[in-house]
């Protein structure tokens, strides 16, 4: 069997390790700032630990009108200011490190994505790539800052608990015993309705399904004139959504009521125990103030969930980002192509596998320079894959492709893309304007070649009819399938090299335009080798040579006239009626 995945990174463990290594690299890229977060967070925790004791002492001194009261107050003010300022610094640094880390991940992932063979990223849908690069990169980018805050998040509550014991062991004991006891007490009051959320989501997705169905049937609805009925039908589950929603809020309210009651009750319990200490003269009023604040701080152990959660989410997200980062790049050599080469194309034992299944196998093919070869076959016979390996949109899993005798894998990237051009059935245009879209390529084409190429592709007329002509923004020009194909052809013509691969690129053209494009290919566009993948009979008939593919293998390489005698070949063109066919023209 063929393995289409890289040998490493296949087991769960190694995937996790590789993602963690990625996080380490990200952290190292902002090492100084991350250390800053660590220091500031620790210092802020220390300040917040010192503050209650200082506050209590100041209160005691003030109540006694002690001469040192002023100095104590100054220290308290300084500590408070330090805590607030350090907290602000942590917020600033965390945001900055998050921004840097996210950008670091995004930049590398985008570069890798753009260096990959399109086939290798086809398993990621556009929406998936968008999610990985936006949400997941952000979450992974937040991991270093989260990790740097964990220590401080643990330090403050643990320190506070220790402080409780130091001030008055009874209060510490009251806290330690009270926490689980109260938790248990309140838990018994809680209503168990955790499934309300999932019921709500189910109704919600029912609504979404109905809307999706209706949008899919938009033409039917428009034709039937039943928009109002459809709206009512889609909205039918809304009442149930409201019911489930109200139930959700009530469950949420119960949970909030529980957690909202816990803390004040615990502090009250600690205060009661401290109150006895006060009455006994064991502790002072200031100590009681300190105790109440330490109890609150100690109860904040739950806040470690924040940075800890960020780290856990970050690790999971890093895996998702890493999946894109580990797509193998399409590496290029440094070789030049022989100057003025005719564009002779040679495939030797070429095989391509997708998900372990061969879609192309054992293809040997020699196209002399300057010739036009048509690739025909039923859908799924491997035509587009042949087109993709011929111009190195993908590497073959076995065998070799040579252009003018030079293996494609060794050719320098800029040389390769300058000399090999593509036009597709459904081209994706990029650029700000229609003119930019045609000019876009390894080298931006000058305005006059853009015009010439558009004329050759039969696109000049309709582009000039646009409000701003070639300067019309791409998004504002609605193109039909046929017009889009012509723009794709124009882009290929404007950058024509020694090899051009047309992958069903004229399927939506009317006959007149197709003829025009054909003439242009013969006379106006730079001469070279053409590989034309097509369903139309006329294309095959006009080609110098026809490659007939069947089930991923070459069935025959001959001229159309020779192949036409074969009924199997005629069947490729959906030509069932063989008797009355010939001699029509």
């Amino acid at each position: 069997m063929v393995s289409t995945r890289p040998p490493d990174g296949t087991t769960d463990e190694s995937v996790a390790r590789s993602a963690d290594a990625l996080l380490v690299r990200v952290t190292r890229a902002s090492a100084g700032r991350t250390a800053g977060i660590l220091l500031c967070a620790a210092a802020a925790a220390a300040a917040s630990l010192a503050l209650p004791a200082m506050l209590g002492r100041t209160l005691d001194l003030l109540l006694e009108s002690h001469p040192d009261a002023g100095r104590a107050l100054a220290v308290t003010v300084a500590l408070t200011a330090a805590e607030v300022a350090l907290g602000a610094a942590v917020a600033l640094l965390s945001g900055t490190v998050g921004a840097r880390s996210t950008a670091w991940l995004r930049l590398r992932t985008v570069r890798r994505l753009l260096a990959a063979a399109p086939r290798d990223v086809s398993r990621f849908s556009p929406g998936d790539v968008a999610t990985r690069l936006s949400v997941h990169a952000t979450e992974a980018g937040a991991a270093p800052a989260g990790a740097a805050q964990i220590i401080a998040a643990v330090l403050a509550p643990v320190g506070a608990l220790v402080a409780l014991f130091v001030i008055d062991p009874w209060t510490g004991l009251a806290f330690v015993l009270g926490l689980p006891a109260l938790g248990l007490l309140l838990r018994s009051f809680a209503r168990h309705s955790s499934d309300s959320v999932s019921r709500y989501q189910r109704v919600q997705s029912l609504l979404a399904t109905r809307l999706t169905d209706a949008l899919g049937g938009a033409r039917s609805i428009a034709a039937a004139g039943t928009v109002d009925e459809e709206r009512a039908r889609v909205l039918l589950p809304l009442g149930e959504l409201g019911t489930e929603g109200r139930r959700m809020w009530s469950v949420h309210g119960s949970a909030m009521a529980r957690s909202g009651v816990l803390m004040p009750l615990l502090i009250t319990a600690v205060l009661a125990v401290g109150g006895f200490g006060l009455a006994d003269g064991r502790i002072s009023v200031g100590d009681l103030l300190a105790v109440s604040r330490y109890a609150a701080l100690a109860a904040g152990l739950g806040s470690v969930a924040g940075p800890l959660g960020a780290l856990v989410r970050g690790r999971t997200a890093a895996r998702r980002v890493n999946a894109l980062l580990t797509v193998p790049p399409l590496t290029h050599g440094r070789a030049e192509l022989p100057p003025d080469g005719p564009g002779a194309l040679e495939l030797r034992g070429v095989g391509v596998a997708i998900d372990g299944a061969w879609v192309l196998r054992g293809v040997d093919l020699c196209v002399p320079g300057g010739q036009t070869v048509a690739v025909v076959g039923r859908s799924g016979s491997g035509k587009s894959t042949l087109g993709a390996v011929a111009g190195r949109l993908t590497d073959p899993d076995e065998g070799e492709v040579r252009l003018d005798g030079v293996p494609l894998g060794t050719v320098a990237a800029d040389v390769l893309r300058r000399e090999v051009g593509y036009a597709f059935e459904r081209p994706h245009l990029q650029g700000a304007t229609v003119g930019d879209a045609i000019a876009s390529g390894a080298e931006t084409a000058p305005a006059e070649s853009v015009r010439a190429a558009a004329r050759a592709a039969g696109a000049d007329d309709f582009v000039r009819a646009l409000p701003l002509g070639y300067a019309t923004p791409l998004e504002e020009a609605p193109f039909s399938g046929g017009e889009l194909q012509r723009l794709g052809l124009a882009r290929a013509f404007a950058h024509a090299g020694r090899l051009m691969i047309l992958d069903d690129a004229t399927s939506s053209l009317d006959t007149a335009t197709e003829r025009r494009v054909d003439r242009a290919l013969a006379h106006e566009v730079r001469a070279g080798t053409r590989v034309v993948i097509a369903h139309r009979l006329s294309t095959a008939a006009r080609a110098d040579l026809v490659v007939w593919l069947e089930g991923g293998r070459v069935r025959a390489v001959r001229t159309h006239a020779e192949l036409w005698r074969d009924p199997g070949y005629r069947a490729v063109f959906g030509h069932g009626d063989t008797s009355g066919a010939r001699g029509d023209r």
Binding site: A88, A99, A103, D213, G217, R219, F424, S480, T511
Partner: protein, 604 residues
């Protein structure tokens, strides 16, 4: 999300308008709040109990110290603290009551947003069906994700703002009760902190807006990169794409940093509002003692500040800073999506006059489909798909339309159905002009069955009778048996059974839609590749049954060549040039038809 960007990009941008402005939302917010004033009042009533609870906690602590622990009567102190504990426990039911009222405010908001989302999505889809599939994800995201963001953010805002206000009332009344002098010390720094916070609000919202914008633009670009990758690699344009994306990444990072700066500023404001009163209270202790303020009152005031006010303030500031901006942005999207709709939803100016139409021809003699001088394009300024096109088809004829994909066959079908208005020329069905007719009227003149068979969640009967709601079961049964839908309908559980569209195959959906067309009273049936998921034999049977339906004229946009061979006449679309004739005449006259049908002379 990706599609959404595409659709927003297509809309003309309005440079003067910054998104997420509160002012734009006010006209919508006021009537909403007014409609729910009773809920608001009840919410206030429950919240007042929260004030009472806050009030009690401080008072009890002060009394516990002054009358108990500090005067050697710990049992009295304990009793006061027990009162505080009871009041805290009562906060549980109070909070449940608050949430009960909250849902009465939040759920109607969500209902309204869902209704808007569905109405808008359907309106847009029906106005421009060709783009409906592309806008699907945006519509679903608006229906689910964005309404949920609005719901959660709104709830968070109401909860925290309300909590702060009523906690503040309880605490301030408490301090007033303990010793009015406390207020003199505490209120000014609190107001200062709040003022600082309010000052950060606008720049914070702007930073949030910038961040959300940058994130959205980058997300769309990331999805777009994946879609364009093949073309980018093939053109060797990956370098420029990387540079352009790099710029977006930088902007996203810069916006995050700016957001972090404002978060830091907010932290400082929070520190001022929360900690300054505590420090001032400490500093003022000697003076307060001179005024006769007791130690217990002092501790009670500190408890108010630290235990009640500071957490409420922190929760509110966080909620307003984050959820508030998100809510404004999301609501603004709903509002502006509708505003856009009213801009572009105007029907196009129709038809060069067709006065002859009013002289209605004698029924039965008028052609079933007649058009003249048609010029059809996708929009103003674009190249026409057909020009000066005319056609006359007799009732009962069977017509096939063939041509390369993307040449405009479906658009022509839309024009003949009255769904797409031609730039020039007029269309009459059975002698009646179709311009200016309502969708309902049109539905009784013709049936257009698109490729995607639309079956909705409802009964089999409702689905079959969609185009003739009054049709009796005998009529439906005739359609079922004629089109051989019996086994399918039986499997679904009969005419009364509910259909789950997702559980049907594409072919089964198409089969039900063919039954729907059979039941319709319209004399003209247009099948736009609406049998493509049936096997050839089933397709042939369905076409024959529909063609033989009494008084029927059938148009078939051919998916297979066999459909063309069954037709009386064939229309070949070849750019603006068209050919219309029989199979034999087209083989002779139309090179495209020869090409499409595979009739090519090998030696030629």
């Amino acid at each position: 999300m990706v599609e959404e960007a595409a659709s927003t990009a297509r809309r003309p941008t309005r440079p003067g308008r910054r998104r997420g402005t509160l002012r734009g939302l006010m006209p919508h917010a006021r009537p909403f709040l007014w409609r729910h004033r009773r809920v608001l009042l009840r919410l206030g009533a429950w919240s007042l109990m929260e004030s009472a609870q806050t009030f009690l906690v401080g008072i009890c602590l002060a009394r516990a110290l002054d009358q108990g622990f500090l005067v050697g009567q710990p049992t009295v102190g304990l009793a006061w603290l027990a009162v505080a504990a009871v009041s805290i426990l009562l906060a549980g039911p109070v909070l449940r009551g608050v949430f009960g009222q909250l849902s009465g405010l939040v759920e109607p908001l969500r209902d309204g947003l869902v209704r808007r989302a569905v109405r808008e999505a359907l309106r847009r889809a029906v106005a421009d069906p060709a783009r409906a599939a592309g806008a699907e994800r945006a519509a679903v995201s608006r229906l689910t994700q964005q309404t949920e963001i609005a719901r959660d953010s709104f709830a968070g805002l109401v909860l925290t703002v309300r909590s702060f206000l009523f906690t503040a009332v309880g605490a301030l009344v408490g301090m007033l009760t303990l010793a009015p002098e406390l207020l003199l010390v505490v209120v000014p720094p609190m107001l200062l902190g709040l003022l600082l916070f309010l000052l950060t609000l606008a720049p914070m919202a702007a930073a949030q807006g910038r961040f959300l914008d940058a994130d959205e633009v980058f997300t769309n670009r990331a999805g777009g990169l994946r879609g364009q990758l093949r073309d980018l690699v093939a053109c060797g344009a990956t370098g420029t794409a990387a540079d352009r994306t790099g710029g977006l990444i930088d902007e996203a990072a810069a916006s995050t940093r700016s957001l972090a700066r404002w978060t830091a500023v907010r932290t400082l404001a929070l520190g001022t509002a929360g900690q300054l009163p505590v420090l001032l209270l400490l500093a003022a202790t000697p003076w307060l003692r001179d005024q006769g303020v007791t130690t217990g009152a002092l501790m009670g005031a500190l408890a108010y500040l630290v235990q009640s006010l500071l957490p409420a303030l922190q929760a509110m500031m966080t909620a307003v800073g984050a959820a508030g901006s998100r809510l404004v942005v999301v609501l603004d999207r709903f509002v502006s999506a509708e505003a856009d709709g009213t801009d572009t939803g105007e029907p196009r100016e129709t038809e060069s006059g067709d006065q002859g139409a009013f002289a209605s021809p004698v029924p039965g003699t008028a052609p079933a489909v007649w058009c003249r001088g048609l010029r059809v394009s996708y929009g103003a300024g674009t190249r026409p798909l057909v020009e000066d096109f005319g056609l006359s088809v007799e009732a009962g004829e069977r017509i096939a339309i063939v041509g390369p994909s993307g040449i405009g066959k479906s658009t022509l079908a839309h024009v003949l159905s009255g769904l797409h208005t031609p730039d020039e020329g007029s269309v009459r069905l059975a002698g009646e002009p179709i311009a200016g007719r309502s969708p309902r009227e049109l539905a009784r003149m013709r049936v257009l069955l698109p490729q995607e068979g639309y079956v909705f969640a409802g009964s089999v009967r409702e689905n079959l009778a969609q185009l003739e709601p009054g049709a009796g079961d005998d009529r439906l049964s005739r359609a079922v048996s004629a089109l051989r839908l019996g086994p399918l309908v039986d499997r679904l559980g009969g005419l009364g059974a509910d259909v789950d569209p997702g559980a049907l195959s594409a072919g089964e959906r198409q089969a039900l839609c063919l039954g729907r067309a059979y039941v319709s009273p319209a004399p003209l049936l247009i099948l736009d590749e609406s049998t493509c998921h049936l096997d050839p034999a089933a397709e042939a049977h369905a076409e024959n049954v529909l063609a033989n339906r009494p008084g029927t004229t059938l148009f078939v946009i051919a998916h297979r060549l066999s459909s063309a061979l069954r037709a009386d006449r064939i229309l070949v679309l070849d750019g603006t040039g068209t050919a219309f004739g029989t199979h034999e005449s087209l083989l002779r006259d139309s090179p495209l038809y020869r090409d499409l049908t595979g009739h090519w002379n090998a030696s030629g």
